[in-house]
């Protein structure tokens, strides 16, 4: 089953968990993010542990004008891709709600950047009539909450984009999977109050790779988040707007 998987935003804990799960089943990897020093370390580690080939290079989601050249570079290195994982994202802070400059950065990374690179990937996979695109969004995109609605809006937009892309690529046999992680034990959540049933990034990574052998299109991880979000989405707005969330 060995293929070549491109992981974008490869230095986050969830991305590393996912890369590990792909490497463990024998896939070669191409890792990309803004942090070359970290990529080098993660690539060496996966190579040593699993004996797979791991290439890496710089990728900045917000620098959309570099995406075409970046993707050509990836293909030059691996010849053929079997799938792509979009794992990058920027949580930003609470301040983003009040400063447009920060909000713009969040949108540029989580939404605009994702649309830019995935347009290129979709155009690559469509004529091949195979491949997969996994987009990691967030449960925060299911309903706007005062604590992180800029991030939520960007992720929500990304979820919608993936939905449309899935519809378009269905005819070509290209899988598009939307992953919505709940609380995962990462640098993003470390020390945050009010977390419960936090999943490890390794577990989430394994589950992400497992979705490829299932039929699901939109996957909450861990699975019980589907029900938590079902409840949250159905709270009537007149009540929801009064909640401190």
């Amino acid at each position: 089953m060995s293929g070549n998987v491109l992981i974008l935003g490869a230095t986050s804990a969830i991305a590393r968990g996912t890369a590990t799960a792909f490497a463990a089943r024998g896939d070669n990897l191409y890792l990309a993010s803004r942090d070359l020093e970290e990529l080098k370390r993660i690539a060496a580690d996966l190579q040593i542990r699993y004996g797979v080939k791991v290439a890496y290079s710089l990728f900045d989601a917000a620098a959309t004008d570099t995406h075409t050249a970046f993707f050509a570079g990836v293909l030059n290195e691996v010849q053929e891709l079997t799938g792509v994982v979009v794992a990058f994202g920027l949580l930003g802070g609470q301040q983003a709600a009040r400063e447009f400059g920060l909000a713009e950065k969040i949108i540029a990374s989580n939404f605009t950047g994702a649309v830019s690179i995935l347009s290129i990937c979709a155009n690559y996979f469509e004529p091949l009539k195979r491949g997969f695109i996994i987009g990691i969004t967030s449960v925060a995109g299911d309903r706007g909450r005062q604590s992180n609605y800029v991030y939520g809006a960007a992720k929500g937009a990304f979820s919608l984009y993936l939905q449309g892309l899935r519809n378009r690529l269905f005819a070509s046999g290209v899988r598009v999977i939307t992953i919505k992680p709940g609380f995962v034990d990462t640098a993003m959540t470390f020390g945050l109050p009010g977390l419960f049933l936090v999943a490890s990034p390794q577990t989430i990574g394994k589950q992400i790779v497992k979705t490829l052998s299932k039929a699901a299109d939109i996957v909450y991880l861990p699975g019980f988040w589907r029900y938590i979000m079902l409840i949250i989405k159905h709270i009537p707005e007149p009540i929801f707007k009064r909640l401190k969330m």
Partner: protein, 448 residues
Amino acid sequence: MPTLTKPISGWGRYPVETCTLERPERYADLKPASDSLIARGQGRSYGDASLNENGGVILTERLDRMLALDVKQGILHAEAGVTLAEILPVIVKQGWFLPVTPGTKFVSLGGCIASDVHGKNHHHVGGFGDHVLSIELIMADGSQKKCSASENAELFWATVGGMGLTGIIGEVTLKLIPIQTAQMMVRNQTAKNLGHLFELLQDPAQDDRYSVAWIDCLATGDELGRGVAMFAHHAASAEYTAADPLQSKPKRSRVLPFDFPAWVLNSFSIGLFNNLYYKKESSKKAPFLCDYDSYFYPLDTIGHWNRMYGKRGFVQYQCVIPEGTALAGITALLNELSASRRPSFLAVLKRFGAEGKGLLSFPQPGFTLALDLPIRDKGLFSLLDKLDHIVLQHRGRVYLAKDARLSAESFKTMYPRYSTWQKIKQSIDPANRFSSSLARRLNIEGAK
């Protein structure tokens, strides 16, 4: 960097102290951010070595990448947060093994160096630090310094066994040892009492690459110190002729899901276990093959085995008594223990070789005894003070990685090289930025 303030403890679950945790995920973020901090790998030291009450604790568990493995020379370069459990499957299949391993594989490389851990082969190869080719130490000012036995050697030997107090160990280069198979060839010898056990462990005709003895702590009188000596070496390919001799199956592990009530471990249940164990092990007359996991890490297959000792936790008391006075000293310790009617579930005796260069390293030539003692009441601590007294009388020392209650005075007598260590510490970290609850309790850094 986000922080999390919460009560934590070491493996013995005593003491429990509130610390402010940070957990960097990028190597560049592994640097001292607060005024008082200690690095913590897997938190497998037993007492307060990885605690820093009301101060910072920097978790290295996410900085666990292996950076290079030279399969020809047997050299591993990795971040210090990686555990032996993660390293082993990678190196064993290439025909390499750890030069020294403690009794659990769930420890980080950094922890192995900071405690200068020893294995069942100390009498032949020394401690863990003796096999470290170099480390990258992150200093109090945030700079990185490469240290080895030839480069910044003073700092290197202050860090080997230095309980994390010289800086954060970021990267490690380790020399591995070659193996032909993933199996161990083990031979058991029963000993009717402590004197007999000592003879077995000292007899060159019996000796093997690894040796260790289990003691039945409940045996008294003529049988005091009865036990089983276990000798082993990595099986050669002639001894284990499997198609793929380096293959090892992962062990199924079980987890103790809850704290045992305090009454579960008592003289009766421990006595029963000891009798069964003694009979079982002494029934193995002929040498037998055993996979490396079962040989080196028998307790690792039970996750959270520390819960066996109940909520109040336990103390592991490990000391070493020099060769000349070892038999007398360990006899006195076992007598004191049996008079106290506090049975130890686990009692392990090992032989140590030459003292290493680590200024605060534990091993010295002689015999080391390790005891697991549940904390039922404060009376345990006065027993342990009595044990300290016996150890001091016999010119021995207590292992800091397992300690939770030694006094500063005893520490100074037991570790005479501490003053040299303090001079180095003061020159590289005069503000004691790297500190821990253990360091303050024992006044390792020297009072200001």
